[in-house]
C-alpha cells in the first residue's frame, strides 16, 4: 500500500476526510517553504502537495501565480523542489509534487520519477497533463512505484471520468469549480455531483480542490469527499505575513488547525 493510500485509509478509519495542504517550493525561500510545510504537517495536514513553480501557470489564480513568480525570482530550481520533498517526506507524511508538465519533461520524465522516488515522494499531480498524453509518465510512475494523480472536472463526461480514473493511483483530484485556483467565499454546488459521478467510475479516494479556505467549507466538502485540498488559502496566509516567518508560521498553524477540525466535523 502506498503512503498516499495509507493516509487516506487512516482518515477513513477515523471516519473523516483527509486534509491535503499545498504550498509552492521556494516560496518565500527554499528553507522558508520547508519550515512552512513542516508547520502544516505538525498542525494536522495528512498529505502535502509541494508545488513546482512554473512560468506559465494557466490553472492558477492570482494568489498562487504571485507565489510561484516570487519563488522563480528567488532562483528556485527543479532540484530545489526535490530537496523540499525530501525534507517534508522525512517527517513521514505522504508528499506529492504538483507540477505543470514542461519542467518534468525538461528534467527528463524517467529521471524525475527516479529522483522523486529517492527523495521519498509519493507521487505527482499533473494539472495540465491528462492520461491522453501521459505515456512516458505512466511507465515511469509504474517503474518507481509512484502514485499518479490526474484531475477530473465538472465538465468531464462519464466516459472521460472512467478513462481518467483508470489511470489514477493513490487518489483522484476533483476540481470543485470550473475555474482557476483561488479561495472562494462559497463552496461549489458542482463538487458533490462530480464526486458522486467519480465514485461510479472508481473505488479510489476522491479529493476535492479549488476554493476551500476555512474549516466550515472544509467540513462541507468532507461531508461527501475523501479528501479536502487547500492551496490558495495557505499561500494567502504566507503573503499576508509579509515575510515575517513567525507571523507566517502562527497563521499557517491556526488555519491548519481550523481546517483539520473541519474535516473531522464533515
Amino acid at each position: 500500500m502506498s503512503l498516499l493510500s495509507e493516509a487516506f485509509a487512516r482518515a477513513r478509519n477515523e471516519d473523516r476526510a483527509a486534509l491535503v495542504g499545498y504550498l509552492p517550493a521556494g516560496f518565500p525561500t527554499v528553507p522558508g517553504s520547508i519550515e512552512a510545510l513542516k508547520v502544516m504537517v505538525d498542525a494536522g495536514c495528512d498529505v502535502i502537495e509541494v508545488g513546482l513553480p512554473y512560468s506559465d501557470p494557466v490553472m492558477d489564480g492570482p494568489t498562487i501565480q504571485a507565489a510561484a513568480q516570487q519563488a522563480l525570482e528567488n532562483g528556485t530550481r527543479t532540484s530545489d523542489v526535490l530537496s523540499v520533498v525530501e525534507a517534508v517526506a522525512g517527517t513521514g507524511v505522504a508528499t506529492v509534487v504538483m507540477t505543470y508538465w514542461n519542467p518534468v519533461e525538461r528534467y527528463g520524465v524517467a529521471r524525475f520519477a527516479a529522483d522523486l522516488a529517492s527523495a521519498g515522494g509519493a507521487g505527482m499531480i499533473t494539472p495540465d497533463l491528462t492520461p491522453d498524453e501521459a505515456g512516458p509518465w505512466l511507465q515511469a510512475s509504474a517503474e518507481q512505484r509512484l502514485d499518479r494523480i490526474f484531475l477530473v472536472a465538472p465538465s468531464s463526461t462519464d466516459e472521460r471520468l472512467r478513462y481518467t480514473t483508470d489511470h489514477c493511483t493513490g487518489f483522484v483530484y476533483a476540481t470543485a469549480v470550473m475555474g482557476v485556483t483561488g479561495a472562494r467565499t462559497a463552496t461549489s454546488d458542482l463538487a458533490a455531483p462530480l464526486v458522486r459521478r467519480t465514485r461510479n467510475a472508481t473505488d479510489l479516494p476522491v479529493g476535492v480542490g479549488l476554493g476551500v479556505s476555512d474549516g466550515d467549507q472544509a467540513a462541507a466538502v468532507a461531508g461527501y469527499a475523501d479528501g479536502v485540498i487547500v492551496g490558495s488559502a495557505f499561500v494567502r496566509r504566507m503573503l499576508d505575513a509579509g515575510g515575517d516567518a513567525r507571523v507566517a508560521a502562527d497563521s499557517l498553524r491556526t488555519l491548519t488547525e481550523d481546517l483539520a477540525a473541519g474535516v473531522r466535523r464533515g
Partner: protein, 431 residues
C-alpha cells in the same frame, strides 16, 4: 475548402474521442509526428472535443463553407491580389511575387481565421468570444468579426503590447470589444494566452476561444490552418496563372505561424517548391534577445502543444524579444515544428535591423508599407534571392504597416526634420 482524411492511428493510451474526418497533417488526436497533441487541464477537454466535432461537421457542411467563402469574398475582400514587385525584384535579383494579405479588411491575414472561428461560434450557439493578441491584429480582427456577428468580445493583451500598439487598442475598443491588459509574467503575448485560458476554464459553457494562431492544443493548429489555407490555395492558382509554373520558393514570417502555415499549405505537397519561414532574430542570435523558436528553442510543451519552446534548463519559458509584437512569442505552431524536423521547410532568423531595412525598402521601391512582421519575410527573401538568383519567390505579405508607424518613427527618426537624406540612409544603411 476540405480536410483530407488520414489513416494515422491515434497514439496509445487511446483516450475516448470521437472519430471523424481528420485534420490534414495531424493524426486524429492532433499530433504532427512527435509534435502537437493536447496538454490541457481536464476541465477544457470536453470543450476541445466539442469544438473538434463541431468544426469537422461544419467543414463538411456545404452551407457553412459557402457562408464562410461568401464572407471572405464580400466582407474580407479575398482573394487577395498576387502582385509582382518589379522594382523590388530588380533590387533582389530574383522575381518576387507578393501575396497581398495586407489589403484584406482589417489589414492582415488574421481576418480569415476569425471569420471562420466566429461563424463556428455562432453555429455552436455560443454568445461570447475571447481572444489573445500580441500586435493587436488578431484582437482587431476578433473585435471586427464579433461586431459583425453580434457576439460579446473580450481581448487579452499584454501590458507591454498595449503600450507599443496603442492604436490597435483604440480600434478594438471602438469596435465594441473589451480590452484587458495583462500584467502577469512578461506582460506580452504568452501571458495574454495564459489569461485567456484562465478565462476560458471558467466560461467555457458559453464562450468560444478564438485562438489567434496555428498553435495551442488540438484542434486549434489544424482548425486555424483550415481557415487560413485559402492564402496558399489562392496563391498557387494565381502564380500558375501569372507565370505558368509554381514558384521556386515560398516564404513567410513565423511567430506562432498562422500566416506561414496558410501559405505553406498550398505548396507543401509540391516537393519542387522550397519552403522557408523567417523567425524574429531580434537583436541577433548571440544577444539572446530574439524570438527564433525553431532556430534556438528546445522541444517542450507550451500552451497545450509539444513544440519548440524558448526555455531554460528547468523548462521555464524564457522571454522572447522582437521589434515586432506579432512575432514576439517563445513558442511556435506544432506543424511548423514538424515541417522543420522533417526538413520539408527550413526556418531562419532575421534581425530587427534587417527587417526594418526591408520595411523601408518596400516602402521606397513599391510604395507599400508592410507590417514589421511581414518585413521579416521580405528581409529573409532578399537573402534567399542571393542564394537563388533569378528564381521566382512568393512572399506572404501578411499585413500592412499602419500599426507600426510609431515604431518606424522612432527607429528611423522620422519625426526629425532631416527629410530626404535621412530616409535614404535608412534604406541603404544599417542603423
Amino acid at each position: 475548402m476540405t480536410t483530407s482524411p488520414t489513416t494515422s492511428p491515434t497514439t496509445s493510451p487511446g483516450p475516448p474521442r470521437s472519430a471523424g474526418p481528420a485534420t490534414g497533417g495531424a493524426d486524429l488526436s492532433g499530433h504532427f509526428g512527435e509534435f502537437g497533441g493536447r496538454f490541457m487541464p481536464e476541465a477544457l477537454m470536453a470543450a476541445l472535443d466539442e469544438l473538434t466535432v463541431a468544426w469537422q461537421e461544419a467543414m463538411a457542411d456545404p452551407t457553412f463553407t459557402a457562408e464562410f467563402d461568401r464572407l471572405l469574398r464580400e466582407y474580407a475582400g479575398t482573394p487577395s491580389m498576387l502582385y509582382e514587385a518589379h522594382r523590388l525584384s530588380e533590387r533582389a535579383g530574383a522575381r518576387i511575387l507578393l501575396k497581398r494579405e495586407d489589403l484584406n479588411h482589417t489589414g492582415a491575414h488574421k481576418i480569415r481565421n476569425v471569420l471562420g472561428q466566429a461563424l463556428l461560434t455562432r453555429r455552436m450557439g455560443k454568445s461570447r468570444v475571447i481572444a489573445e493578441t500580441g500586435a493587436g491584429q488578431h484582437g482587431v480582427a476578433s473585435a471586427t468579426a464579433a461586431a459583425y456577428l453580434d457576439l460579446d468580445c473580450v481581448v487579452y493583451m499584454g501590458e507591454v503590447d498595449t503600450e507599443r500598439q496603442a492604436l490597435n487598442v483604440a480600434r478594438m475598443r471602438l469596435l465594441g470589444a473589451e480590452v484587458v491588459p495583462v500584467s502577469s509574467g512578461s506582460r506580452t503575448l504568452k501571458d495574454a494566452i495564459n489569461e485567456a485560458l484562465r478565462d476560458w476554464v471558467a466560461s467555457v459553457d458559453h464562450t468560444a476561444y478564438l485562438f489567434g494562431t496555428a498553435a495551442g492544443p488540438h484542434p486549434f493548429p489544424s482548425l486555424v490552418k483550415s481557415f487560413v489555407r485559402g492564402i496558399g490555395d489562392e496563391a498557387r492558382e494565381q502564380c500558375l496563372a501569372l507565370t505558368g509554373s509554381l514558384p521556386d520558393a515560398v516564404t513567410a514570417c513565423v511567430g506562432g505561424g498562422s500566416n506561414a502555415i496558410g501559405i505553406f499549405a498550398g505548396f507543401v505537397d509540391d516537393p519542387e517548391v522550397r519552403i522557408v519561414g523567417f523567425e524574429a532574430g531580434g537583436e541577433g542570435m548571440d544577444s539572446g534577445r530574439h524570438a527564433a523558436t525553431i532556430a534556438a528553442g528546445e522541444v517542450g510543451v507550451l500552451h497545450g502543444a509539444r513544440t519548440y519552446v524558448l526555455q531554460d534548463d528547468d523548462g521555464q519559458t524564457v522571454e522572447s524579444h522582437s521589434i515586432s509584437a506579432g512575432l514576439d512569442y517563445p513558442g511556435v505552431g506544432p506543424e511548423h515544428a514538424h515541417l522543420a524536423a522533417t526538413g520539408r521547410a527550413s526556418y531562419v532568423p532575421v534581425t530587427d535591423e534587417e527587417a526594418m531595412k526591408a520595411f523601408s525598402l518596400l516602402a521606397r521601391t513599391e510604395g507599400i508599407i508592410p507590417a514589421i512582421e511581414s518585413a521579416h519575410a521580405l528581409a529573409g527573401t532578399l537573402r534567399l534571392a542571393e542564394e537563388m538568383p533569378g528564381a521566382t519567390i512568393l512572399v506572404n505579405l501578411s499585413g500592412r504597416g499602419d500599426k507600426d508607424m510609431g515604431t518606424a518613427l522612432e527607429w528611423f527618426g522620422l519625426g526629425e526634420d532631416r527629410g530626404e537624406v535621412l530616409a535614404e540612409d535608412a534604406t541603404e544603411e544599417p542603423r
